[in-house]
């Protein structure tokens, strides 16, 4: 059995080096951000009878890990409470939460997740992720901007994308009609981020 002093010293050294290497990979990992729920918003613009109206999701939970210098380790996971959809009028809210649209009792959460980012311009990017609404998951491209505050510890993440509600089965039965309820729904978000404490 080899119990040379050299080996006794070398093993912990190797282990330490391995730990250091892991740490070195982790160190530039993208920044974890905390979203200020009160000032952030997730809204949508839909069309009914030829006119647009805006609604919002009052509750959503974004987990944002993002660093323009480290897109490879960046990721968004956003959980959206479908029951918190609000359009300013309770009859319409009830229809929206009902079985033909979000069916919130069966599918209380919608989710957007992505790990794929590319740069599209100064401070602008595009994420390719998966949006799950009801029981349908589809790829969605999400162009957005990421602007750091002067202190570097805060940032604003904002973007807009358009999805087709019927791709996700949002609008069953008579609501498949797109003449009276448009298929395109514009989704907009604006997140006020603070860098998470290390």
């Amino acid at each position: 059995m080899n119990t040379s002093p050299l080996r006794l010293i070398a093993l912990p050294l190797l282990a330490a080096a391995a730990t250091a290497a892991t740490a070195a990979t982790a160190a530039p990992a993208a920044t974890v951000w905390v979203t200020d729920a009160a000032s952030s918003k997730l809204t949508f613009v839909a069309t009914q009878a030829g006119g647009e109206f805006e609604g919002r999701f009052a509750r959503f939970t974004p987990a944002i890990v993002f660093d323009p210098a480290d897109l490879a380790h960046s990721r968004f996971n956003v959980d959206i409470a479908t029951a918190a959809a609000e359009t300013g009028e309770h009859d319409r809210d009830n229809i929206l939460k009902g079985k033909d649209f979000f069916a919130v009792e069966r599918w209380p959460q919608a989710r957007f997740e992505t790990r794929v980012f590319r740069v599209t311009g100064p401070a602008s990017y595009e994420a390719t992720g998966k949006l799950t609404l009801r029981d349908v998951t589809r790829e969605v491209r999400l162009p957005f901007t990421f602007k750091r505050g002067a202190d570097g510890k805060s940032a604003v993440l904002a973007g807009t994308t358009t999805v087709r509600r019927l791709d996700f089965g949002v609008g069953q039965g008579e609501w498949i009609d797109t003449q009276w309820v448009g298929n395109d729904v514009r989704i907009h978000f604006e997140l006020n981020l603070k860098q998470a404490p290390p």
Binding site: A49, G50, G51, E89, N94, I95
Partner: protein, 184 residues
Amino acid sequence: MPLRNTAENYGSLAKLLHWSIVILIIVQYFIAEAADELPDGLEKLQILSRHKSVGMLLLMLAVVRILWKLANKGQPVPVGTGALKKAAAAGHGLLYLLLLLQPISGWAMSSAANYPVAFFGWFQFPALVGTHPGLHEILEDVHEVLFYVLVAVAVLHILAALYHHFAMKDDVLKRMLPLGKRTG
């Protein structure tokens, strides 16, 4: 029949506006009643959006009607004297006011509920007020009460016209009839 009003007769445009407004208000009542019967759903959305489009058309017609009246100042010449003449002027003023307020209250009522007001799917009017559920409830009542007031004033208007025709035997009713001609 001339387009413009004359001293004795309403022109074709004033008549067209007057009678279009009458017919569309009746149509509006039945559309609103039909929508009231329906549960929330696509059909109700369709019917109510027609009610809104026709309502906005009525608002535009009322504005044109009033502008046209101003452009034909004093024609046809008002009839009657003293208090009755003043009452007629006040009644007409109230009718014009209601023709404006009725669609505007509906428009504001939609806006307060964040419902878009479009014109037959062609374009969209801006929201008149911000989203406010409490205000929506109030304006819904206002819109309904204004309709009853409008009906009441319109009934007086009809009675006055009939009084002119049958009791005073003048041309006041005839001068607004669609094909009516002054007979002397």
